[in-house]
């Protein structure tokens, strides 16, 4: 059970930061959804909002950390070009995938989509965290705003999930070593 630095960073990127966001999504979404005057007392809403603020900003920080560690630490190792004449491509995941027509689409579609779409998640999550912080308990009375927020948050989750899913598949096919 020995992991090198690259493998540890890959885990931090996906299994720590990415996982925290994906795992925390449903709880945060339900907390926002349940902020209805008919469902909770004003005291309950005030307490829920306090918790959601901390929760949302934690998730947002986590998804920003996931994309930055992914793009600036793990991705350079993934895309590094092998020196001319290299025959063992096991430490050059992108070129390992492209070398075999059966795995090339993991890069051509999977990685190409993942690396870009992932950046949409923290942008959308930041908007949601801001709206919760701005309105506070008033959010319970703002039906349209709450609905728009939930759509933004689902969008953040969907884009992060697509990135995470392809990240897992690509790591299985050609791990960063």
């Amino acid at each position: 059970m020995v992991m090198n630095v690259r493998e540890i960073w890959t885990v931090i990127h996906g299994m720590v930061f990415g996982f925290i966001f994906l795992l925390g999504f449903s709880g945060a979404l339900y907390a926002v959804y349940s902020m209805k005057p008919g469902w909770q007392t004003s005291e309950g809403i005030a307490k829920t909002v306090k918790n959601i603020k901390v929760y949302m900003w934690t998730l947002t920080a986590s998804v920003w950390a996931a994309v930055f560690t992914g793009a600036y630490i793990v991705y350079p190792w993934y895309r590094a070009a092998p020196p001319t004449g290299t025959t063992d491509l096991s430490t050059f995941p992108k070129f390992l995938l492209l070398a075999d027509p059966n795995t090339a689409n993991w890069h051509n579609f999977g990685m190409e989509w993942k690396e870009h779409v992932a950046f949409l998640a923290p942008i959308a999550a930041t908007v949601v965290a801001f709206v919760v912080s701005y309105y506070g308990p008033l959010l319970a009375k703002k039906v349209g705003e709450r609905r728009a927020m939930m759509i933004f948050f689902i969008f953040a989750f969907a884009t992060a999930a697509a990135a995470g899913l392809f990240g897992a598949f690509i790591t299985k096919a050609a791990p960063v070593r």
Binding site: E115, H116, L120, A148
Partner: protein, 111 residues
């Protein structure tokens, strides 16, 4: 100071629209890059040699998001705006971002 029983929706609309703008810019810059990776614009996107063009594409999206947010927040601070219209536009811009980052769409345009 804003009334705690009814805060204006301007800052919220500003954040939503800025999120849409940031996403759309990321999508469009990505699409333009993928259509021709040899243009001067495409090569200028390499802000970090180890990360490649992704560094420029993502940075443009993030900068557009923050810049738009700052400007719109300043303009709409303390104001009531047409929230439904702005949120619809924001969602459409999110869709532009999503489409622009989707590889089959690049191929559709000859990328």
């Amino acid at each position: 100071m804003a009334n705690e029983t009814n805060k204006p929706n301007g800052p919220v609309a500003a954040a939503l629209l800025a999120g849409g703008i940031g996403s759309a810019v990321l999508g469009l810059v990505t699409l333009i890059y993928e259509l021709n990776t040899k243009t001067a614009f495409a090569t200028s996107l390499v802000w970090s040699k180890s990360v490649g063009a992704l560094s420029g594409k993502s940075s443009y999206g993030i900068i557009a998001f923050l810049l738009a947010w700052g400007v719109l927040h300043f303009v709409w601070k303390g104001k009531e705006v047409k929230f439904n219209t702005i949120s619809m536009i924001s969602l459409l811009l999110l869709a532009v971002g999503l489409l622009g980052t989707f590889p089959p769409v690049w191929h559709l345009f000859g990328g």
